[in-house]
Symmetry: none
Subunit: 416 residues, 2 copies
Amino acid sequence: MHAEIIAVGTEILLGQIVDTNTRLVGQVLADLGIDVYYQTVVGDNEVRMRAAIDLAAKRSDLVILTGGLGPTKDDLTKQVVAAYLGKQLVEDEAAMLKIKRHFEISQRKMTANNRLQALYIEGSKPLANETGLAVGDFYQAEQGPDFMLLPGPPSELRPMLFKVALPLLKQAYRQDQILSSRVLRFFGIGESQLASQLDDLIENQTNPTIAPYAKDNEVTLRLTASAKNEQEAQALLDGLESKIAKRCGQYLYGYGDDNSLAQVVMTKLREKHLTITAAESLTGGQLQAALTSIPGASQAFMGGFVTYANYAKEKLLAIPAEVIDKHGSVSEQTAILMAEQAKQKLGADVGVSLTGVAGPDSLEGQPVGTVWIGIAYRNKDGYAQKFHFPRQRKYVQARAVLTALDLVRKELLSEN
Amino acid sequence: MHAEIIAVGTEILLGQIVDTNTRLVGQVLADLGIDVYYQTVVGDNEVRMRAAIDLAAKRSDLVILTGGLGPTKDDLTKQVVAAYLGKQLVEDEAAMLKIKRHFEISQRKMTANNRLQALYIEGSKPLANETGLAVGDFYQAEQGPDFMLLPGPPSELRPMLFKVALPLLKQAYRQDQILSSRVLRFFGIGESQLASQLDDLIENQTNPTIAPYAKDNEVTLRLTASAKNEQEAQALLDGLESKIAKRCGQYLYGYGDDNSLAQVVMTKLREKHLTITAAESLTGGQLQAALTSIPGASQAFMGGFVTYANYAKEKLLAIPAEVIDKHGSVSEQTAILMAEQAKQKLGADVGVSLTGVAGPDSLEGQPVGTVWIGIAYRNKDGYAQKFHFPRQRKYVQARAVLTALDLVRKELLSEN
């Protein structure tokens, strides 16, 4: 079964607003296991809307339209769909009552065009609008595609979609199935590298499906299984995950949509009752900001240092000027001392340091993207690793922070 | 002349990401006076992408595709458009060199599929990708519609669109006209509030056009004037800006796409040869990270303190335990001392402090969202202001940082 989404609104074509509705409807359909092959945006124009509907009806079993249900002259969706189906529009009494009461309460005169919002296509099911006045519509055809009409304002669409439309869609198309998703998160491997390592799995995916997604220096894979029950779905997901882990397990750091390297590190630190601190030069506080973005950060993080200039490294961390003069501020020696001194000054279990060349200019003869990360872990000897991230300033900084978190994560894991 | 936008990506159909590219391209075309009648999203599927291109080519003079230029098996856009046109793909030497260098420097193996990113359609103009590896494409046909191919990641699309594609589109279709844009940036006012204050201006816009855009706690307005020459365009923009400034000038902090409150503050500090430092509790380093995200930060920022726990406030800033015991860590007194101590310890001209309740739990009986910002500005007496941002943790932190920057900006301006 294939569905198609048509967003109606000239303001979307003109780029005046971002259409977030289509994305939300797309998510709901994906989770229901209903394929979407096309999404279209069309303006508030009868001829072109009709053309879009004609086309969608030819190639899809379900057409979901968003927008154009309001009271203004521009709002044509119901009328155009009714004309396509050869049906009349009829009045939803409850909706009409709500509209009348709305105008009474707000002491404004109800103009005639407002009646339009209470109309629905005869033979369809009107969908109640909890947060607005325009009713939606679900038309199940005996022949040809079904139609669903949803309002344009996201504040109206969202509750109607989840509370009214989703149960109807499940009932109509998916009584027999459970859908379950699992998100795997990877760091240290690019999207293309991951994709090429999983080439055959991605190529031959059926159930579960695999959807890679790259963002902010990391890659996620969303695995989605369809099955008769949750247990079966989980078994399918486990099977696929273990295949993936066999090939790229060293980059797999966590699970879930709302997760991050900082979250994983903080969770592990709290489990082990350890505290962390940092001394940041090129990243200027970003690592500590990432740690404190996690709720409950205070259990594992008390504070730390931003030592951007050498003066601050000397003043706040007592790094001897001679070390910096001799080896440079971007050096193994300085990185190790920064991590050790930060750890010692705050009595933390783990000290992390970052020093490097964020750019745009090179520093001490070292190219943009050079980064030293120092780690002082419990009673181990401090050490530092050199990296090179030859990109723009923001990328260098963000990548350095994630790499430091990944080093800490590996230390935390290696102990068990 | 009509254009059509096709966004390519199964992840969009599945609702995994919101497609913001189409909106941006739509804005650019609207500013160029090029009508867009349809926007389509299609998955990474050769047959359906070809169907979408066939349809678009029939009804439009210019087809702009976004996405699908990357190195994976899913990335098919170039190949499908080339096949539609009956053209070969050829290699862009400069792009190929850039890809090779990228893999050399990052010491990763370049897999064969990466070569795809350097290919463009023969007879077209390859579009340089400033922030990524995949080249874009502009194909001007003798017969039939023109094609433009742009990358999917917004961080790559945006610079290519504005710096490379827009000039080419202007030259190809709008030689008679000058288009000039000006972006106004606002902080401290919401999008709907700004829109309602400018209601009539937005409603009746023709030339210049006004496009509001809300993001990350701030709102921007992009004004675009079309005129015979730059001087005329600037005069139109000046006229509209002064109308807007009359109503909402107190929230207008700067201009331009690549700008931020941190950038404005850093520029002003450097102009005045002043240095800044910070002591951050609830924001855990975010303010300092914002300052050091600006190239050349070292001229005005040497370092600072992350004092998340009270222990760190006492240890790093010598805030007396009695002050915290008596007034609380989230208090005017603590905020002032933090700002003053940070300033003094690093010998800076400006000290900023942030202490508050980021949530999810309340602290010292104060509700989530309570924030004290302390300012120690040159030889003025230190002071602190209380704010309340009752939202989620990440919002509270981000809003606190911007509010602190705005306070510093006002201090810097008030001196002149």
